[in-house]
Amino acid sequence: MTWVAFLEMLPKLASGAVLTLELLFLSACVGLFLAVPLALARVSKRWWLSLIPRTYIFFFRGTPLLVQLFLVYYGLGQFEAVRESFVWPVLRDAFWCAAITFSLHTAAYISEILRGAIQAVPVGEIEAARAIGMRFHQVYISVILPRAFRMALPAYGNEIILMLKASALASTITLMDLTGTAKTISSINYMPVETFVTAGAFYLAITYVLTHVIRFLERHLHPDRKEPVMIVG
């Protein structure tokens, strides 16, 4: 590969990286937001309440993300009713389809992480909170969830890195993310390996930066501890 060809692809890949990061940021935030009610319902003692998140998690963890993405993007467009409804302006856009699918997908994984963390909150703390007269929802809001969030942070960070890598599939629905840009470049320069390796370097750089940001956050939330608690998700 000539240096010219290499230097020419860098700005294109960089703009692809921006789209990748936008998708990642959106799905990490929305996914977390969706995961909280899912996790709460999942730990519920009422079987019918925990059945909904169980089914949801079963589906999203048991099928490939690519199938989920095609179901949302190509699948929903099959129906006249969907195409004429108010959601179509959103579903029409490949970006929103990817953002929605990624959010739903990652929410399933994050909710399992949160469930693990909620169940790991020491019983004594909950009993103590009840003993000083806190109501059930107060216990959740002031004791269990803040504790669980802190414990879940390392695994949540892990999930964000996994989503970064999974987001490469956005390229299969016309999005010009990092991988989509690399595919288009390689279809013009006929140097697929060199192009994909360069794109890979971008992903590694993003992973490196994200890992450090997450570590910084962990330390910030655990001022009393040097090593954060590790939870195996």
Binding site: F59, L71, A166, T179, P192, V197
Partner: protein, 232 residues
């Protein structure tokens, strides 16, 4: 019932390829994982660097990108290796199945090497010392003492990886292998019913992962049985 418009047989054939691909990649991945773990625990710094580099790099890359690179690069790499090592300058054919198996095995191996490394160091050093004292060679110690226990300790983690591997087989559709996802896309092109067909594919994947998780539970139970017996 869902009307598959005559594509049911094609989907079934695709499912078989998906299964073959997953199992072949599992074997490649287990071998690479063990090699990677041994490299990470090596006494020689360059070998350790190689082992750590492999797992760190691959785990930081999108699986999809690794698959694309392997598909387009496998022939180049193999030909370069054949030419430098064996002086063979002919052309080497890499089928979509072989490229897919290698790519997925390569990814699986990177994660598995971490699991195996953890499992190996969790086995008390005294056991290896005892084996050596009994006159076993290093190799015998590894295969007779360490490896059987590593299997048990790493099994739950490996099971997780296998589930991920099974879903990652869908990525191989991009390299032209006619696994489930690819044949579904063909059928969508002919019937214009993407929702029905992709949902059918999703259900098949769910079945596969469910069966695999049942199988794993069985394997884990068997592995745990051995432990209780050994302790009693």
């Amino acid at each position: 019932m869902i009307d598959l418009q005559g594509f049911g047989a094609l989907l079934f054939a695709g499912t078989q390829v998906t299964l073959q691909l997953a199992l072949a990649a599992l074997v490649v991945g287990l071998i690479l994982g063990l090699l990677g773990a041994t490299a990470k625990l090596s006494e020689h710094a360059p070998v350790r660097l190689l082992g750590n580099g492999y797992s760190t790099l691959v785990r930081g890359l999108p699986e999809f990108l690794v698959v694309l690179t392997f598909y387009f690069g496998a022939t180049d790499i193999l030909m370069a290796v054949a030419s430098t090592l064996f002086g063979y300058d002919g052309y080497i054919e890499v089928s979509a199945f072989a490229a897919g198996t290698t790519a997925l095995g390569f990814i699986f191996g990177a994660y598995a090497s971490e699991l195996f490394r953890g499992a190996i160091i969790s086995i008390p050093g005294g056991q290896a010392e005892a084996a050596r004292a009994l006159g076993m060679t290093k190799r015998q110690t590894f295969f007779r003492i360490t490896l059987p226990q590593v299997w048990r300790i790493a099994l739950p983690g490996l099971g997780n990886l296998f589930m991920i591997l099974m879903k990652d087989t869908a990525l191989i559709s991009v390299v032209g292998l006619e696994e489930l996802m690819r044949v579904t896309a063909f059928a969508v092109g002919r019937t214009k019913e993407p929702f029905t067909l992709y949902l059918t594919a999703a259900v098949i994947y769910l079945l596969l992962t469910s069966i695999a998780s049942l199988g794993l539970r069985y394997l884990e139970k068997r592995a745990a049985l051995g432990v209780r017996e050994a302790l009693s």
